[in-house]
Symmetry: C2
Subunit: 240 residues, 2 copies
C-alpha cells in the first residue's frame, strides 16, 4: 500500500468552495485519529483573476497564476494536484504543462461518475458561463455518449447572478430556492440527473433537494482525491 | 493601506479545526467577490506527531516538523504565520526561530481578548492535557493578572476522551453535551468566562450554549488574522 500521497489543492476559486472540498475530503477519509487523514497543501488564493471574465474575453487570463500555483504546490511537496473549481479547468492545458505531477480533473472524474449511473443519459448542467462557453462538460459528455441539457441564456444569466451572490457570502433560503428552481427547469427540459458543475452550487443545493439525483462535483473530486492519495486507485499519467 | 498580506496557516492539527479556522477567516472578511478574500497558504498536515504525547514525554517531538512547516510556508510566500492548534504552541520557540516572518500566537491573542472583557477575572480553561501541562494559558493569564480555573485530573481525562472522539469524526449531541458538562463544572468552580482553548472544542460548543460567555480561540485567531493581513493592526515583531 505505501504511505499516503500528499495532495496539492489549487484553491480559493472561491475560498468557500475550497473549504467545502476540504471538509468533504476529511469526511470521506476513514480516520480514527489526526494522523490517518491526508496531508493537503492548499493554496487558497482568491486573488487569481476571474475565470468567467477571462473566458468571455473581458478580463486578464488566470492561466499564468494557475500555472505558477501548480508549480509552487509541486515544489512544496504535492504528489498530485486537484482544483475544486470547474470553470478554471478551461486552463487545464497550461496547468498540466506547468507541473510534472498528475493533475486530477474534476470534469473527468464527474463524467466518469455519471457513466456509472446506468439510467442517466440526459445530464442537466448547472455550470458557470465560462464553463459553458469553454464547453468543458458538453465536450466530455459528448465523448461519453451522454447528452447535455443546458440552461438557456436567460437562465444562465440568473445562474451567474446567483453565483456572484454566493461568492459575496449569501447562502440563505432565497438563494437556495432560486438555485433549486434552475435545476427544476433543467429537469422540465428532460434532465434525468443534475450535475452541480460549479463548486459554489453544493454550498446551497444538496442531493435530496431535487426530484432527480444531484451529482456534486466537489464531492466526486473529494472521493477521487481520497482514492488516489490512499493508493486505492492508480493515478492518471502525469502531463496528461 | 497596501495590498493584503499572504497568510501561512500551520494546519492539520487536526484537519477539521483547520477547516473551521478557514471558514471563520472567510466569514469575518468583508468581501463582495473572491478577490476581496485573503490569500491563505495552508499546510494541512495531520501527519505531524501527536502534541499531547510529546509534551507528556511518551511520543516524538513535533517541533522539527512544525519548524519545517513554518519554513516551507515562508518560502511559499507567507508573510505572517498562524497555527489553529493551542497545544502545539508549546513549540512556539522552535517555530519562531525557524521563520523570519511574524508568528501570531493563538494564546496571546486569546488572552488579549480576555483582557478586553472588564468583568472577567476568573477564566475557565477547556484545554488539552499538553496545553495544561505546558501551562500555556496558565502562564499567560498569570502575566495578565487573570486567574485560571482548571479541570481536575478526572475531568481532564474526560476532556481528552472527548478530544480524541471529536478527532475521530464524532460531533453529535452526546459529545456536545459531555463537553458542555465540563464547561458547566468550570462555571461551578467559579469561572466567569470559558475559553475554548483547544480548536476541537468549538466544533461542538458555541457561545450561547453556556450560562457564561464562551471565548472561541479559533474565532479570536481568525479575527486577528484578518486584522493583521488587512493591515488594520500592526504586526507583532518577527522572531518574537
Amino acid at each position: 500500500m505505501g504511505r499516503d500521497l500528499t495532495v496539492g489543492v489549487m484553491g480559493g476559486l472561491g475560498p468557500e468552495a475550497t473549504v467545502d472540498f476540504m471538509a468533504k475530503v476529511i469526511a470521506l477519509t476513514d480516520a480514527a485519529r489526526d494522523q490517518d487523514h491526508l496531508h493537503l497543501i492548499v493554496d487558497c488564493n482568491p486573488k487569481v483573476p476571474n475565470r468567467n471574465l477571462a473566458i468571455a474575453g473581458s478580463g486578464p487570463s488566470p492561466a499564468p497564476e494557475l500555472a505558477a500555483m501548480a508549480r509552487r504546490l509541486e515544489q512544496a511537496g504535492a504528489e498530485l494536484l486537484v482544483m475544486p473549481c470547474n470553470t478554471a479547468h478551461a486552463f487545464v492545458g497550461e496547468i498540466r504543462a506547468a507541473a510534472a505531477v498528475p493533475f486530477v480533473s474534476i470534469i473527468e472524474e464527474t463524467v466518469a461518475e455519471l457513466r456509472r449511473l446506468p439510467e442517466a443519459r440526459r445530464i442537466g448542467l448547472l455550470t458557470a458561463g465560462g464553463c459553458r462557453q469553454a464547453r468543458l462538460y458538453e465536450g466530455a459528455l459528448g465523448a461519453a455518449d451522454l447528452q447535455p441539457v443546458t440552461l438557456d441564456d436567460a437562465q444562465q444569466g440568473r445562474f451567474m447572478e446567483l453565483l456572484y451572490t454566493i461568492k459575496a457570502g449569501r447562502r440563505d433560503a432565497a438563494v437556495a430556492d432560486a438555485m433549486r428552481a434552475l435545476a427544476v427547469e433543467l429537469i422540465a427540459g428532460g434532465a434525468e440527473v443534475i450535475v452541480a458543475g460549479c463548486t459554489e452550487v453544493p454550498l446551497v443545493l444538496r442531493d435530496g433537494d431535487l426530484p432527480r439525483p444531484l451529482i456534486d462535483s466537489t464531492a466526486v473530486l473529494a472521493a477521487a482525491t481520497v482514492a488516489y492519495a490512499k493508493r486505492r486507485r492508480p493515478l492518471p499519467p502525469p502531463r496528461g
